[in-house]
Symmetry: C2
Subunit: 151 residues, 2 copies
DNA sequence: TTAAACTGATACTATATTGATATCAGATAA
DNA sequence: TTATCTGATATCAATATAGTATCAGTTTAA
């Protein structure tokens, strides 16, 4: 059971790159190189994030992408929602009718509680928070800089 | 992001059927009919659960399956582990080397906390607990019995 | 004024996972 | 001795995931 797919993972990293270059446009090519994300794949993710108003873009030379929100307003809950679909227990929940099986409904009740907890936690993890955590880590081990990419 | 796949869902229901017939063997056919689970699919799940010592079987006429553990000792955490793989953040976690990207590691730290919370919660939900919840529900609305299966 | 550096949009492909079906061999009870 | 079961596999379709390719259009700067 993978919690984060590549899409979400890459999206987070891309947003961290944008957050680090606050105020200026960063090209997909630059993000791709910096974060090791397949270029065309990344482009798709960026387009998706434009559609959700997380980033804005500028075409042409010197163009690229920029955050269109405060990093603290971009939470993992939303990103997971965009790239992996809303966290849900099972399809059963979307049927407007009573579950065919009572057991499932009992289960559902239990799990919806967990669902809420998980969503709350994911919501608390924002790009802003990750950025600060990242800075803290880098401050502790300044020698490694941002290289040290193991092959 | 689906929390429970059909496999886990079906497995839970099958175990509830077995828990309800404590002490006697229940055939896959009976479970299949009772819970609306595709017969051969269910058989596979039951075999898998035998391998994990959750149920035992008896071949031949009047044969079937039986719980080989106390219902309170079968938790969702284990079932999810069996049918969906252990809850994990991303593949990155299994690499014995440092993550290529620092951000991912920061993220990982955050998410491992959630992972723990989720696992603890899932562990608390056992077949025994669901069975009791189910009984409580049925006691409240005895009129509906165990029919009322919407087509 | 045009070439290079960009994004927008979309179509496509490969692989893995999920959900499900089919078949045959062997055990067991009536 | 046959109908009712499980054991063990093999196969398959649908969907999701991950990644690639292409072409059109925009913008800057030489």
């Amino acid at each position: 059971m993978k919690v984060l797919t590549k899409k979400t993972d890459y999206a987070i990293r891309a947003l961290l790159s944008l957050a680090a270059s606050k105020g200026s446009y960063v090209s997909a090519k630059a993000i791709s190189a910096e974060q090791g994300i397949p270029y065309q794949f990344l482009r798709g993710l960026l387009q998706e994030m434009i559609r959700h108003n997380l980033v804005s873009s500028k075409e042409g030379v010197q163009g690229g992408f920029m955050l269109s929100k405060n990093p603290d307003e971009i939470g993992l809950k939303q990103l997971i929602g965009i790239f992996q679909g809303k966290v849900e227990v099972s399809e059963c929940m979307f049927r407007k009718q009573l579950c065919a099986n009572r057991a499932k409904c009992v289960l559902r009740h239990e799990i919806m509680r967990i669902e809420q907890v998980v969503n709350n936690e994911f919501d608390k993890i924002t790009i802003g928070k990750l950025q600060r955590d990242l800075d803290a880590v880098n401050a502790l081990r300044p020698a490694s800089g941002n290289v040290e990419e193991p092959k």
